[in-house]
Amino acid sequence: MTVSETSASTRAETGSGPMYDADEERRARKKRVEAIAQWVIPITVMAIAIWYWDRIVVWNGIEPYILPRPGLVMRTLFEDWGTLSQSLLVTLQITGMALAVAVIGGVGLAIIFSLSRFAEMSFSPFAVILQVTPIVAIAPLIFIYVESRLVGLLMCAWIVAFFPILANTTLGLKSADHNLSDLMTIYRANRWQRLRYLQIPSALPYFLGGLKIAGGLALIGAVVAEYVAGTGGIGSGLAFRILEAGYRLQIPRMFAALFLIALTGVIIFATTSLIAHLALRKWHESALKRE
């Protein structure tokens, strides 16, 4: 590899010729190729997987009520769009609301914990107990005590989504740089200023990490809670559609609903990742591009 390198470096020294050498050009090309491959490779692999799924069904003559072809799943999705879209909306609504309440509750409680050691000592055991008890075990009780189905579902989704936000934000609020904290003391910052100018910005990356986890968990909570609730009718979400389709052996519809749930999860993840990126891109190590 030395031939091109030496000729390039002599050129650079004499100051004539192009500003970039062959190596630099090669690196730039490699970068461009990588940028394209980043998208092309996963999409291609996904397409091959779906195609292979289709072939397996055809080659083995598998009946649609055991494993439908991907095309049939898509057709079902369009044909049943009326019911499915409404269920999608319900699931989205529950997940979104649960996440919102989890953010408010988790961040609020984390701030209270950081302001008062006594509050932390008193309430963190409850938070831990809620977290370690599986939601499927709590859900039936919730649906006995809570009249409204929607509220019950919301509570379940909230319980699972809230802990990562609380735990991460609490950790973040405590992780402010010690020297900066001393500086606040020297400049006689009050409790509120310290929180606002030091602790909250320090906690932001931690909170956003928690938000990413909580987004996925809120969806899981919403789905699991609906399995437990079990009753249908208007206002039922995607999970109930899956149960219902299962009872009726409408396997393509099960797949269609499953597809929508997965899509929802991906969209939630992409959104929370984007929010994290936008909030941190200017300064946090996790969002910086390194040369």
């Binding site: 020297n179 500086l183 020297i186 910052a189 300064w283």
Partner: protein, 262 residues
């Protein structure tokens, strides 16, 4: 701004017979007495663990002394202190200008009302063009300058510096030493400067406190009676060499006397 001769300066802070003991066992500082006068440039020089940082943290009010008192002449005002730590200690989420704004912001001054003073402070450390940069975009030496700009932006009576240049290379360090003296001459601040380096302390300060470890204590004060401004001429002067030698000997002494001074 002219700095008065050593003997004519008015006192601003007294440390009286200060002890600091950690956990009832570790004596970090024993019977330290010090009067800081207006315009002093004091270096605390000593081996690792002799209580230099502890002394600074006591003066900064970050912890109370175990025994003894620290008194400000005329009481301590809110704007009396500026501090530079060994690390630049900047807020990574804020731009350079916003970092320098911090001391004002905590007093409730809006950015607009103090913009001139922030720009002035940045210009003093040669960073007027970097107000909108984030700390990560700066080199180590530049970050340290921002930290210095933040410490002096409020015109404090006393600036504490804990080995601010220890992590920098020799060239940057000399440059910052020169700049620091120039700044001090401009604003006439009083500085307490912690360092490991004999040469740095002789170059910068007019009072050198040589400290010894276990227990941490002041063993000798060396006066460097050379007027400011000091520059390259001072670095090569015979007198500089003589005092550096004397300081170095005093420092060597601390390594062997151990408990003898008790």
């Amino acid at each position: 701004m002219r700095v008065a001769r050593l003997a004519e300066r008015a006192p601003i802070l007294h440390m009286r017979e200060v002890d600091k003991t950690f956990g009832g066992e570790v004596v970090a500082l024993r019977r330290m007495s010090l009067t800081v006068n207006e315009g002093d440039f004091i270096s605390l020089l000593g081996p690792s663990g002799c209580g230099k940082s502890t002394a600074l943290r006591l003066i900064a009010g970050l912890m109370p002394p175990t025994v003894g008192r620290i008194e400000w002449e005329g009481g301590q005002g809110a704007d009396d202190l500026g501090v530079v730590f060994q690390e630049p200690t900047l807020m990574p989420w804020a731009t350079v200008a916003k970092n320098v704004w911090l001391p004002f912001r905590l007093r409730g001054h809006s950015y607009r009302s103090v913009r001139d003073r922030i720009e002035e402070a940045l210009a003093m450390v040669g960073l007027e063009k970097f107000g909108n940069a984030y700390p990560r975009e700066l080199s180590g030496g530049m970050k340290m300058r921002v930290s210095i700009a933040r410490a002096l932006v409020t015109n404090p009576r006393l600036i504490l510096m804990d080995e601010p240049f220890a992590a920098l290379d020799e060239i940057t360090r000399q440059k910052l030493n020169d700049d620091l003296l120039e700044l001090k001459a401009q604003i006439g601040a009083t500085v307490i400067f912690v360092t490991h380096s004999v040469f740095e302390s002789v170059f910068l300060s007019d009072r050198i406190l040589v400290m010894a470890a276990r227990p941490g204590r002041v063993v000798q004060e060396i006066v460097v009676d050379e007027p400011y401004p000091r520059g390259i001429a001072w670095r090569t002067a015979p007198e500089y060499g003589r005092i550096a030698r004397q300081t170095s000997d005093a420092l060597q002494g601390t390594l062997y006397t151990r408990e003898a001074a008790e």
